[in-house]
């Protein structure tokens, strides 16, 4: 099962002929063998990854010829907004954009556009999606993850790896890990993913790694209280961040009282989320939260 992607996904990479795109496309292909092509306008008819996959001029062509249903985007910022819209217009079911640095105003329009289609969009500026032993659609290092039953949702890249590593050390594998990105406007939110994990039979518990800025964690926590029966474990990075300063991610900036780590943690706890205090305790908190649960059955 897992969510979003599995071994049956048919993945294309937009920007596959660029250096980033070709490097990561190769890694994704190596991981699960389900990269079926790439898209670079004007380079259709060529091949990429040493002749292993075909290159198409458009997403529509890739969809028609190799049945692509997932697209991974490495197109540079000035062209990324258009690439996302092209994929959505072509009916690609899942679009994952790794590109960092897309102007926010363009993303506002992209989101409105994609919402009119049936596509799901993850990112931008995110590490992508990883279903252990199923599919890697992004830049997460596959070797750190193990197949299992914890769903992971995160705004961050390396902090996700840290969390996954702690989970593995506690003996927990992951159903799917999703990096949603830390930009002010993103496609798929924490709430959306809580819903998907709640309905995924393979997932027993959900780890949610947020940060300062915005109100997504609060909306997710409220949603979890009303709609999620599985344990949710949450961490917020940026407890020490001063207000008004952007902490790396464009969205990680405290611009109101409700956007601080303390405020988010308080509300998460009120909504029944197991709040992790120290970032070194993510794995242990999952273990504590699951100590009364064994293979999905309350003891």
């Amino acid at each position: 099962m897992a969510i979003l992607v599995d071994k049956n996904s048919r993945i294309i990479v937009q920007g596959i002929t660029g250096s980033e795109g070709s490097f990561h496309a190769e890694q994704c292909l190596e991981y699960a063998g389900n990269v079926v092509g790439g898209v670079t306008p004007g380079k259709g008819g060529q091949t990429a990854l040493d002749g292993k996959v075909p290159v198409f001029n458009s997403c529509a062509e890739a969809r028609e010829k190799v049945g692509a249903n997932v697209s991974l985007i490495f197109v540079p910022p000035p062209f990324a907004a258009d690439a996302i819209m092209e994929a959505a217009a072509a009916g690609i079911e899942l679009i994952v954009c790794v590109t960092e640095g897309i102007p926010v105003a363009q993303m506002v329009e992209v989101k409105a556009f994609v919402d009119q289609t049936g596509s799901r969009f993850v990112g931008p500026n995110c590490p992508g999606v990883l279903t252990p032993e199923g599919a890697k659609v992004g830049i997460m290092p596959g070797f750190i993850a193990k197949k299992g039953s914890i769903g992971v949702i995160s705004k961050s890249g390396t902090l996700t790896y840290e969390a996954v590593d702690q989970l593995v050390k506690q003996g927990y594998g992951q159903s799917t890990c999703v990096g949603i990105g830390g930009d002010p406007i993103i496609g798929t939110t924490m709430k959306d993913l809580l819903d998907l994990f709640e309905h995924d039979e393979e997932t027993e518990a959900i780890v949610m790694i947020g940060e300062i800025g915005g109100s997504m964690e609060i909306e997710a926590a409220k949603f979890a209280k009303a709609n999620v029966s599985k344990p949710v474990i949450g961490f917020i990075a940026g407890q020490t961040a001063p207000p008004g300063r952007r902490m790396g991610h464009a969205g990680a900036i405290v611009s109101g009282a409700d956007e601080s780590a303390a405020a988010k943690k308080k509300l998460m706890a009120e909504c029944g989320v197991h709040v992790v205090e120290s970032p070194a305790d993510i794995g242990r908190t999952v273990r504590d939260a699951l100590k009364h649960v064994k293979i999905g059955v309350e003891l």
């Binding site: 910022p77 000035p78 640095g101 897309i102 102007p103 926010v104 105003a105 363009q106 506002v108 329009e109 989101k111 409105a112 590490p127 830049i139 997460m140 290092p141 070797f143 750190i144 995160s154 705004k155 961050s156 890249g157 390396t158 902090l159 996700t160 790896y161 840290e162 590593d165 830390g182 002010p184 406007i185 790694i209 940060e211 300062i212 915005g214 109100s215 997504m216 909306e219 961490f235 990075a237 940026g238 407890q239 020490t240 961040a241 001063p242 008004g244 300063r245 902490m247 790396g248 991610h249 464009a250 969205g251 990680a252 109101g256 780590a261 205090e277 120290s278 970032p279 070194a280």
Partner: protein, 392 residues
């Protein structure tokens, strides 16, 4: 990116939005000429002298002075230019005032608030107005949120005239004043969108005794990701208003923010960097900085990162926390070894490397002969660096 009030007003003017105008000077020797110009061109006989720094609350810190005469204007220019202005937003160390705006004084009949920013939750820009202008809008939001009226802009459609009319009505404007407001609000949104602003805030937006709407102050911030589209806007950046070490880090593509603690941090990834600061605090230390060396960390970035961290005299120990995904830990280790040899370290350095090639990296460090404290886990690293900082 932030800009000064006088620069923001120039942009408003270029969009035909009425502003409180004036002349901005950097040198006391320009004061007489500036007063002459404001007097002759704008007909002003009374003035407002306004410190130009990138921080709000300037009035509270004594950086904005009404001057009923030329003499008092000169006196206020003398006092403000070169002063260290402390406002609620500058921190205790304050900010040196290098520029002042010599502005025309206007008769104020009413003060409003108007702003445009992104509503992240809705994924739309929001235009906000309030009849409670000239005060801290955060206070209004807390105490009487009903006094802030909002209109959301549907992506691709701009601020529609009917929305402008609703905003004007919310401010109690009627007749010609309402029509003037609708035009102004639409121009403001056009400016916000065309220049890729992250915030446009007019506080206060005034109605003069003559019934005209005028932007008395202006704050504009820009989306850094979009500056490549607007070279003329990027040129407005004032490096004097930024921390020199942050500017230097930016030149090396490092994301550095200086804080006031004693533990320097070098981390890959913004989320992990924030989490590293958090755990240092939880273990009783205090972070000296946020530093994300990014996904492409190599020998050069590590060396530059070190140099920038160590340029802060408060740093008593350094923690390097790298989780190698795409980044290979052995490369980071080589960078650390090289940096330590070149930089003549005088503070203890704790290194925690995990992920890709972490084992090779640990061996490299162990065999390098450089003096480093190795840590096995995130927790271990935090405890060791806080101890090291306290002991140094």
């Amino acid at each position: 990116m932030k800009i000064h009030e006088y620069q923001a007003k120039e942009l408003l003017k270029s969009y035909a939005i009425p502003i409180q105008d004036g002349v901005t000077i950097e040198d006391l020797a320009q004061a007489e000429a500036a007063l002459d110009q404001v007097n002759e061109e704008l007909g002003a006989e009374q003035y407002v002298i306004k410190a130009q720094v990138h921080a709000g609350g300037r009035g509270k810190g004594g950086g904005v002075k009404f001057s009923p005469s030329r003499e008092s204007a000169l006196e206020n220019i003398t006092n403000i230019l070169g002063m260290t202005l402390v406002t609620p937003q500058t921190g205790a160390e304050g900010r040196l005032v290098k520029k002042v705006m010599v502005a025309q004084a206007l008769d104020i009949a009413k003060e409003f608030y108007a702003a445009i920013t992104l509503d992240r939750a809705k994924g739309m820009d929001v235009f906000m107005v309030s009849s409670e202008g000239g005060v801290e809008i955060e206070e209004v939001a807390k105490t009487s949120p009903e006094k802030i009226v909002k209109e959301w802009v549907v992506p691709g459609f701009g601020l529609r005239p009917f929305q402008g009319r609703r905003l004007a009505a919310a401010l109690g404007l009627e007749g010609p004043a309402a029509r003037q407001a609708v035009g102004m609000f639409q121009k403001l949104y056009t400016l916000y969108r065309e220049l890729d602003c992250s915030i446009v805030e007019i506080n206060p937006l005034i109605v003069t005794d003559q019934g005209d709407l005028v932007a008395l102050d202006a704050k504009i911030n820009f989306d850094d990701n979009a500056l490549y589209l607007h070279k003329d806007v990027a040129d407005l950046r004032d490096l004097d208003e930024e921390d020199p070490s942050e500017v230097e880090a930016g030149a090396f593509n490092l994301n550095y923010i200086k804080l006031d603690g004693t533990v320097g941090c070098m981390v890959n990834g913004a989320g992990l960097a924030m989490a590293t600061m958090d755990i240092i605090k939880q273990r009783g230390g205090s972070p000296a900085n946020f530093l994300d060396v990014g996904g492409g960390a190599n020998v050069e970035t590590v060396k530059n990162g070190f140099r920038i961290i160590l340029s802060d005299p408060n740093v008593k120990a350094v923690l390097i926390n790298i989780f190698g995904g795409i980044v290979r830990c052995d490369r980071i280790a080589n960078g650390i070894i090289e940096a330590v040899k070149v930089l003549d370290l005088n503070v203890p350095v704790v290194v925690r490397l995990a992920g890709t090639n972490a084992d090779i990296a640990k061996e490299l460090l162990a065999n390098s002969g450089v003096d480093l404290i190795s840590a096995d886990s995130f927790e271990d690293a935090a405890v060791k660096v806080v101890e090291a900082a306290a002991g140094n």
